[in-house]
Each structure stands twice: as C-alpha cells, then as structure tokens.
Symmetry: C2
Subunit: 452 residues, 2 copies
C-alpha cells in the first residue's frame, strides 16, 4: 500500500524557527515612524508588542531562533501536522504530478494561526503581561489567540469586525468558549470606535477599524499588549515550523518540491511554508524551486499593487511599512476568504517579490470554490475558503505541467478547514457566488487615492 500521510515523531519536530532575514542579501527596508520618518528600533515597538516579538521583528542577523520549551510542548498537542500525498486529488485530476499538502487544519483551532498565537501568548506571559488584545475578521486568528491566551492564563479581548460578529456566530462562540471577551467593532469602548460610530452610526466595521480599536486598547491599558496574526515578520518566523516540518516529511516520501504554493493574505502562511525551502535557494542546493503566492483577484496587491511605504491599518496607528499595497484605505470586496481581505503584504515577502525570488498569481472566487469542492470529494477534507486559493493554483499548475508532458512535485499549504464556512459552500452550490476581479484601472484609482 502506498503511504499517504507522513508524520514526524515528537523528537523530530524542529526546535528552532528559521529567520530568512539573515539569509537575504538585500534586507527588507526598515519600518518607519510615521511622525518622524525615522527607521524604527525594537525599543520603539515595545509599547505595542511583547519585547521578544519586537526584537524578532527586526532581527536580520540570527538565522535560527530557539522555540521556547513551553511553546514546543504546546506544539506537541497537534504537531507535527501531517504531510499528505494527495492521491485522491491526483486521481481525480488524472495528473502525473505528485501533489502534497501540509495539513495545518488539524490544529486545535482549525488553522495554522495557532503556531504564532502560542508563541506570542508565551512571550507576553513571560514578560509579565496580563492582557492581550487583537482584531479578527472571519475569526481564525481570534480563535487561535483566544485559545493560546487561555492556555497561558492571559485575559484576551478580541475586536471582531461587526458584520462578521453577526454573520459568523460559530466563530464568535468558539472564542467565547475559550474564554475571550469578544466585542463587535466599531464599539463604544475606544476613542477610535466612538469616533467612527458618532460619525457613521450603524457602521458595519472593517479590519482597519478593528485594528485601530485593539491597538488603542493595548496602548491605553497597563500590562496589555497587542498581537497580530499575519503581515509582521515575527509572525512569519513562527510559522516557519510548517515548512521545516514539511522539508523533513517530503524527504521521507522521497521527493523535493518543484513548486511551493500557498494562499496569500498578509504573508504568514506563505512565508511559513516557503521560507524554509527558500533557504536552499540562498545556499544554492535547490535553485530552481518556484514559490507561488496565490491571492484573490479581488485583492491583487502582489500582482497589481504598488511597492511603497504604507500603513498596516486604516487609521494609520501602525508604523509605515515598505510593502506591495492597494492602499491602507482600500476596502476589499466581500469575498468569503476573509483572511485574504487585506490591502498589503508583509515586508519580507514584498522584498522577495521585488527581487524575483518568488512569484504571485491571482484566482477568482468561483474557481477557488470549484477547487474546494473537488478537493473535498477526493481528499475528504473541506478546505477553508482561503486554502481553496492554494488548491485552485495547484490544480492549474498540475494541468499546465501535464499539458507539457512533465511530472513535477507540487506542495501546497492547507491552512485550515472550512467547517465553519459552510454557508459559503452553500452559496457556491446554489450558484449564488460572484467573482470580483479588479481591473488595472480600478487598482490604479485606489493607489492614486492613498492619503497620509
């Protein structure tokens, strides 16, 4: 019988994260203070983040960073996650390619987000922080942080985009079950929220407003830190456990990836699976592997956005970051892949894309759900709408290689399951989904409208 799933024993699970910044010949440009225009130091970030996270954020020298023992212990609750040879999908496609996926959906909270939530909660606890706060849209990150906070005895306050709070009661209930206080944003509990609600009563909320509320809470509350689920470099660092495991596991299967494929929101799952393999681009042992970030056609920051300094949030509370962006005021279309509805890309990925180390493609919403259905029926796992982007791209690539008569090894990241996204699948099944591709003109109009 052909082996389907590959696991590492607990002693084989990596004990260090990989910091790609150390290997990049061209380092990411610095974060800048929006008021002074000065490059920021870790100390500048201490008021907002755990100190260790702030240091990791700007660490461009240490290739390997120890995973704290307590975080490693919590990783064993669900890691290693399986690397799976997608025999079912291969058969359904009739492809000669070898398709593998790293199944991060088996984490307790159903997605890869926990890999960083555990680390951030741990560092906060170690530094004497008592309260953590964050924002969440669809709720994957909020769920992960709520669980991690409970494990480490921290109080968590999550601002959930109001429309999601109302439309996704399952995710909200998960966060509450893990003990978090969940507030629909905008709320009257912060100045940012009050400003919005007095100006625009019944505002539905957005990730931008929720970030502003969470950041404000952290800044104005003693012993309270802000945490983030993607975009930042230390978040991608924590996610490299994915690729480091996958590298060992795919070797057990006797393969090495020709292409590494991941969906793209802020960059953390992409970086998590791709960066460890990219180190062999830098050390010269595997120069030809391709790294493909897949974004929604409705939010095409990598394929059509502009590389420039921009804010990470709508209100302009964050540092200025050198990123591919559609503009921090950009309001993405209401696609179901809520985790990909973000205007900008993390600074490392932006630099790598600029330098041609990686590439990007965009996919329309309906194609992603088609891919999700085929995957569900052939592999039995219902993927999150975000993950469907990676699956759709993988299917495209397999077909392209088949058309050329070549067999390649494709590896994609299954970031999460779609069990709490079944209303999206229902819409797809009933033919009520819509595509929202942005034209070059629309993108340009948005970029022209960026104001600081």
């Amino acid at each position: 019988m052909k082996q389907k799933r590959f696991f590492l024993s607990e002693s084989e699970i990596p004990t260090q994260w990989y910091n790609i910044q150390a290997d990049m010949p061209v380092k990411p440009m610095p974060l800048k203070d929006p008021k002074t225009g000065q490059a920021m130091t870790p100390e500048d970030l201490f008021p907002m983040f755990a100190k260790e996270c702030a240091r990791q954020e700007l660490n461009t020298t240490d290739r390997w960073i120890e995973i704290p023992a307590k975080v490693r212990e919590m990783y064993t609750y669900y890691r290693s996650t399986p690397l799976v040879r997608a025999y079912g999908l291969e058969e359904a496609l009739g492809t000669k390619c070898h398709i593998y996926f790293k199944n991060e959906s088996v984490s307790p909270v159903g997605s890869h987000k926990l890999n960083s939530a555990l680390a951030q909660a741990y560092y906060c606890k170690e530094e004497g922080v008592t309260n953590v706060t964050t924002e969440t849209g669809a709720g994957q990150w909020g769920t992960a942080l709520s669980y991690a906070a409970k494990l480490f005895g921290l109080e968590a306050a999550v601002y959930q985009v109001k429309i999601s709070y109302e439309q996704k009661p399952y995710r909200r209930a998960m966060m509450q079950l893990f003990g978090a206080q969940v507030t629909p944003s905008p709320s009257m509990s912060t100045r940012a929220g009050k400003d919005i609600l007095t100006k625009t009563p019944n505002h539905n909320g957005s990730l931008g407003t929720a970030i502003s509320e969470a950041v404000e809470l952290a800044r104005t509350t003693p012993n309270c830190k802000y945490t983030l689920g993607s975009v930042l470099s230390h978040v991608s660092l924590h996610q490299t456990i994915i690729g480091l495991e996958a590298e060992k596991q795919i070797a057990m299967a006797g393969d090495y990836p020709d292409e590494v494929i991941a969906c793209f929101g802020g960059g953390s799952n992409f970086g998590g699976i791709a960066f460890p393999f990219m180190r062999h681009y830098y050390d010269g042992t595997h120069k030809d592997t391709r790294y493909i970030a897949v974004e929604p056609a409705s939010c095409p920051k990598l394929t059509k956005g502009k590389f420039m300094y921009d804010f990470g949030d709508e209100a302009g509370y964050t540092p200025m970051m050198p990123m591919f962006t559609l503009g921090h005021n950009f309001a993405p279309a209401n696609i179901h892949a809520g985790g990909l509805r973000y205007h900008g890309a993390g600074v490392i990925v932006s630099q790598l894309l600029k330098d041609g180390v990686m590439e990007a493609m965009d996919v329309d919403q309906i194609e992603t759900f088609e891919a999700g259905m085929l995957f569900s029926r052939s592999e039995g796992i219902i993927p999150a709408p975000e993950s469907c982007h990676a699956i759709a791209a993988t299917i495209r690539r397999a077909k392209e290689w088949d058309a050329k008569g070549e067999s390649k090894v494709l590896l994609f990241n299954l970031t999460g399951h779609g069990l709490v996204d079944m209303t999206a699948y229902s819409q797809y099944l009933s033919g009520n989904l819509i595509n929202y591709a942005m034209s070059d003109e629309e993108v340009q109009k948005n970029i022209d409208a960026i104001t600081f």
Copy 2:
C-alpha cells in the same frame, strides 16, 4: 518532554476487525422477523443491506474479519487516529489518574462514523449496488455516508430529520458538498412520508420517520441498499478499528486502561473502543478493566430501560431485536447530543450489560457541556455534544479515584468535534441550557405504552 500523542505507522494499522460475538459464551439472542416470529438468517437481511454486512451481522463464529484492502487504503487517509495523553485535562483537574483519549474527531468528516461508512459503501459497490440511502439526525452519520458514497462512486440519498435539516444548515451543506441528495423527512417522496404528512401537516420529523423513509426507498428501488450508522452488530464490528489501534498505542505509552469510557447512542463507538479490550476479559489476561457506557439522563435506556424484543424504528420496518429499550415510540427530549437520542441499544451491548461484563451511567446535559468547556480550554479540542458525555464521566471517575487516593488509567473515546455544534455551546455559555433527566416513573410509563 513527555510524549503527548501516539500514532501507528501505516503498516501497524490493524488489518482485521474484531468480532466479539465469537468470544461471547452467551451469544446475543437472534433477530426475529416481526411477522413470523422466526429467527432471521443473513439471507433474510439481503433485501435491505449489502450481503456481506448481513453476514457479518449474524456471524457468531469468526473472531477476526479481514478489512478489505480498499477500505484499509481509505483508512490511511486519517488512520491511525492519535491516542492522546490528556496532560492538559489532568492538570486542570489536578488528578493523579492517567487520562487518555482516542481522537476520532480528526477523521475527514469529523467523527468515528466514517470507519463504518467506508466499509458499508465498499461492500455495496463490490456487490453491484449503485445507490445507497440512510437517515440522519444531527448529520454526523449522513456526512460520513455521503463522503464514503462519493469515494466509491455511489449515489447517496439521505433523509435528514426535518427540524435538523432546517436548524443545522452546516451539516446539510457538508452532505451536499460531498454530492449527496438530502431530503428533509418526512417528505412526499415515500409512502411512509406521505402518510405522516397527510395525517400531520408540518410534521417536524424524527429519526423514526426518517428511518422508515430510507428503508422504504431501499426496498422499492432496484440496486439500492439501506445503510445504518449505529445499533447493528456489523457497524460495531467496523468500529473495532478504534480499540484495536488504541490497544497498541496505549502500550506505546506504557499503560493499560483500568476503565474504558464511551458515550452511548446505539452502541457503535462504545463497542468500537471497548470490545477489543474486552477480549482480554474473555482470554483472562485483563479481568478487572471496567467498561462504562455513558448515556444522557434524558434517554436512559441502559440505566433504566427494559430488556425485551423491540423494533429499531418507530414505524416497525426493522427486525425485532433483543435490546435494552425505552420503547420504539419513545420521543427523546431535544438535547443537543442528537446522536444519543435513540430509544434502544444494540443487541451485543444489551447482552453484555445483562451479563454484567460492562456497566452504564447517565449524565445530565449541563454537566456534559461543563465538561466540554473544561476540555476545550485544557486540550484545545471542542468536543461534540455526544463526546462530552464520555468526558463528563471520565472527570467524575478521576475525581472518585482521587478521593480514594488511587491513580488509575482512564481511556475515553472522543467520537467527534463540536465545530458545527457551536450554537449549543452558545446556549450553554449564556445559561440557557436545560436538563431533562427522566424519572423511573416516566420511563415505566413509556415502557408500558409500547405497542406492536
């Protein structure tokens, strides 16, 4: 670091199911034809079930039954499931007991139900069947059968209890995504459904009516077989893969269970985890292990029901079975653990309970959700309401042993996750859950009212 999870390699996964009937000195009493009163043969069951399932149902001689190669291959999509040492829960309880759980929630469909769905779909396919049908309440079994049918190229028709069809759109969408036709029951598509709907318009449906519709469809359609997710002996047989794996895994952990604990609906997950260990009761190597079936206090067939011949369904389409029952017309209270809302127990378990080989306890709804919340926060996995019964019982037992100053090894079966049951948790969190314990008088009144 202490090892948390134990897996088997694919080559260590059991290749045979364990048929406890071969070891039982007192065999279960026969199924009887309701019309003739005669003991039924496998041939009598052929019109309803796949032939091989009918043979397995009544096989009291072969201790081991080969798992077909194709089923074993599909098992590798998710098996072995992890055996987990519940360090988090142990710490939360401050117990000296070793608590383990077998995590069946990692199956593609989120529960143990797939273990039998794959087998039943396989046998149907092998025997030239083209269509399968079944009923489902909450939807765990319907989801499993829908996926298994798709894998083996069968068309699946699922009758879902109408109130669940409307209240649980996520489960319904999962079945549809896997390609099944889902019909709310009672429907106008069968005579049984028409009779009910003309007599009682706007009937909400029940498991009893849904079984009647599915059985009728199978009987009146060429090449269509009926499948069932619990109660029957061949279903428990397929589930023994759980206990056979667990036995190897707990040995890897250096332990052997003093108590094996599982929730109880019809008996298949209980039998699945308990029967393989019970064979060491029969072979004399482990005489003292206790086997505890946990049922809702609102549906206490094992603790308060009567052992007698009864139907498996409300309409009386099934064979007469010797079982502990509350009466086939019994309408269980509307608890969230839909999978445990069934009036009777399988014939093997009924005989074992009668013979004192196993025992039963009942738990109230609120205690089960308290246990589910503690488990979620300490182990990170949100359990299905059904599984919460096993957790609640395990917590009780651990506390009892601690009070005696003894450390025991407790093993329970985590049958499924509760990700599509978050509305139930929301009700619990908001204090709106209700207990529905039945008194002895109420049980007696139901049993007195049984009519044939």
